[in-house]
């Protein structure tokens, strides 16, 4: 029954895509507010992965339970980074911001390489090999949990930006930094908070990702590029767009890996990116500036 095959591949691609989407959400939040492109995003994600790996091997903690701890550490890291370094680059040209974050990415990546070595590390959970049957679908328990975790965090993030006073203040900063300053908002503080949130979110995405793939430092640049592709496909600054883009990329990767050759799967993501940049440069859900 080939149709069931496709359905299964599609479903697991979409679930992986939710985690990708969550990672991209962190990037989108930072870019949407601070207007700085976080070129160290994949490096932060892999740092989150190693955090979960460490907590699992030392304390036997499930990655889903490790996620909040990882998020807290990366939040602090992002906050300090924005306060200490990135903040003075906010007004500078794009290429300088890029170089700064590239330097930071290089530092994080190689620090991880020195600490953990180039070999893959995986996390074993009791349900590693379980599958769940839903109608015609047969899904991995790990994938379902990772996808569910991504949805929970996304909903919480939406609620934060929609309803909380701080969330509204951050959105005001994003819409009009000058206006926000005029009405008395502490822009620098909110920027640091936003960078922290973005880093924390990608940390959670990393922790969830350990359920699906083995951790290697070399994954970092790949994830940086993947997050970029997703954000651009979904629309810069659009939170639902990031999630949609993530699912689209997860889906197309899974299909390409299944139909063609696993090594060609990222070619598909780039293909999607090029098509979107051509037909709808503002992204699927982005607004025209």
């Amino acid at each position: 029954m080939p149709f069931d095959y496709y359905l299964n591949i599609a479903a697991s691609g979409l679930l992986t895509g939710l985690v990708y989407g969550l990672a991209a959400l962190g990037l989108s939040v930072i870019f949407g507010v601070v207007r700085v492109v976080n070129f160290a995003h994949g490096e932060m994600m892999v740092a989150g992965m190693y955090g979960a790996v460490l907590l699992a091997s030392l304390l036997g903690l499930d990655p889903i339970l490790a996620a909040p701890v990882v998020a807290a550490v990366l939040f602090a890291f992002g906050w300090v980074l924005q306060r200490g370094l990135v903040n003075r680059f906010v007004e500078r040209p794009e290429h300088m911001q890029f170089i700064l974050l590239l330097g930071i990415a290089t530092i994080i990546l190689n620090a991880m390489l020195m600490l953990f070595g180039p070999d893959s590390r995986n996390v074993m959970v009791p349900y590693s090999f379980d599958t769940v049957e839903i109608g015609p679908l047969l899904l991995d328990a790990v994938r379902l949990r990772a996808g569910a975790g991504a949805i929970v965090v996304t909903v919480a993030l939406f609620a934060f930006f929609r309803f909380s006073r701080t969330g509204k203040a951050i959105r005001a900063c994003a819409d009009n930094p000058l206006g926000a300053r005029v009405v008395g908002l502490n822009i620098d503080g909110l920027y640091a908070l936003t960078f922290g949130i973005g880093a924390g979110v990608v940390g959670i995405a990393g922790a969830l990702m350990t359920l699906l793939v083995d951790s290697r430092p070399q994954l970092a640049p790949e994830y940086t590029l993947l997050s970029f592709i997703i954000v651009i496909v979904g629309g810069l600054g659009s939170l639902p767009g990031a999630l949609l883009g993530g699912m689209l990329i997860g889906f197309s990767e899974a299909m390409a890996g299944f139909l063609l050759d696993p090594s060609l799967k990222s070619l598909f993501s780039y293909g999607v990116l090029i098509v979107v940049l051509l037909l709808r440069p503002q992204g699927l859900l982005g607004k025209r500036s």
Binding site: L102, M112, P118, L225
Partner: protein, 329 residues
């Protein structure tokens, strides 16, 4: 430039010309690497420094140039002096295509940079699967052995390659200078600084930008031809990698984006720094994978924080090598 600047520049030039007579093989190989990065940095600078177009995928043009010339040589026996035209044509075509897509549809800034990365990555994955170019197993040019120097086929001693790359660097420097003081060069600067204003006074933005991409990609392709014949082997994972693209842009950034000497100075800072680090790591026996790159990252952050305009403008000002704005000739 002041008299002092010209004298110093001439001195450096003479030293570089005489280098093969003084330097041993190791130093010569390091110098060749330095000059290679100076050359491609110069080529990248035409896009970013002169016209404000951030390309993060210049490995694409290096790779296309390298593969085109190497394949012509190996499959059809066509030498590099003929093959380089095909190489330049291939890279320019790719560059103009990316430029066309980007500039037509208003893809700017970060988005444009991403488009360049995307194409380089597509090429990397594509060449991994193209068996005519050796696929992921690599593409090799037969090593000539001791047949002596054959400038026509670019086979020969390290000295030969050293002089070829030195000539390329000097030619690129001269070309950049001529371009910068031409009508097109002034258009580029205008487009870089104020696109709207440039358009208002009649500069065709699209044409100026496409011209910058064409010049830059063609020059970069020559760097690829040199690389193919110097190293005799090509692997898509190295040639087209994102890491290579970043290595290409670092000299210009460290030396000073948009300046003529910047990329050259940057290459002379970065490559020896890397060699020194390798040496120190070997001597101290403190060998950890990633240590050298970690240090690179730190250097990058320090430079961009403390010398955001690059080392050359600061150095030139300190040593009185260039006239300060407003000073009389």
């Amino acid at each position: 430039m002041t008299g002092r600047g010209i004298v110093l520049l001439a001195l450096c030039g003479a030293l570089l010309l005489a280098a093969p007579m003084i330097a041993d093989r190791y130093v010569l190989s390091v110098l060749t690497t330095v000059l290679w990065f100076a050359y491609v940095g110069q080529a990248w600078n035409v896009m970013m420094g002169f016209s404000g177009l951030l390309s993060l995928g210049h490995a694409l043009y290096v790779g296309l140039g390298a593969y085109a010339s190497a394949a012509l040589f190996v499959h059809f026996g066509i030498g590099p002096w003929a093959g380089m035209w095909v190489a330049m044509l291939a890279a320019t075509a790719a560059g103009c295509f990316i430029g066309f897509l980007g500039f037509r549809f208003g893809v700017r800034g970060v988005h444009f940079a991403l488009l360049t990365i995307a194409f380089a990555e597509v090429a990397r994955i594509g060449f991994d699967h193209l068996q005519w170019f050796g696929g992921s197993g690599g593409f090799f040019i037969p090593v000539a052995g001791d047949a002596g120097n054959d400038l026509l086929n670019l086979r020969g001693s390290p000295e030969l390659f050293y002089y070829v790359i030195l000539a390329l660097v000097l030619a690129a420097l001269a070309l950049s200078r001529v371009l910068l003081h031409s009508r097109l060069g002034y258009q580029w600067l205008a487009v870089r600084e104020e696109p709207e204003a440039a358009e208002a006074v009649g500069v065709d933005l699209f044409r100026a930008r496409i011209a910058a991409v064409a010049v830059s990609s063609a020059l970069t392709a020559l760097g690829g031809v040199f690389q193919a014949f110097y190293f005799n082997n090509l692997f898509p994972e190295q040639v087209f990698s994102m890491g290579r693209s970043i290595e290409i842009i670092l000299p210009a950034i460290v030396g000073g984006i948009g300046t003529l000497i910047g990329p050259i100075l940057g290459a002379f800072i970065l490559t020896p720094l890397g060699e020194l680090l390798t040496y120190l790591i070997e001597v101290t026996g403190f060998d950890l994978p990633g240590l050298k790159q970690l240090f690179y990252g730190v250097a990058l952050v320090v430079i961009v924080v403390y010398r955001p305009d690059g080392v050359w403008p600061w150095l030139a000002d300190r040593l009185g090598l260039v006239r300060r704005p407003g000073e009389d000739a």
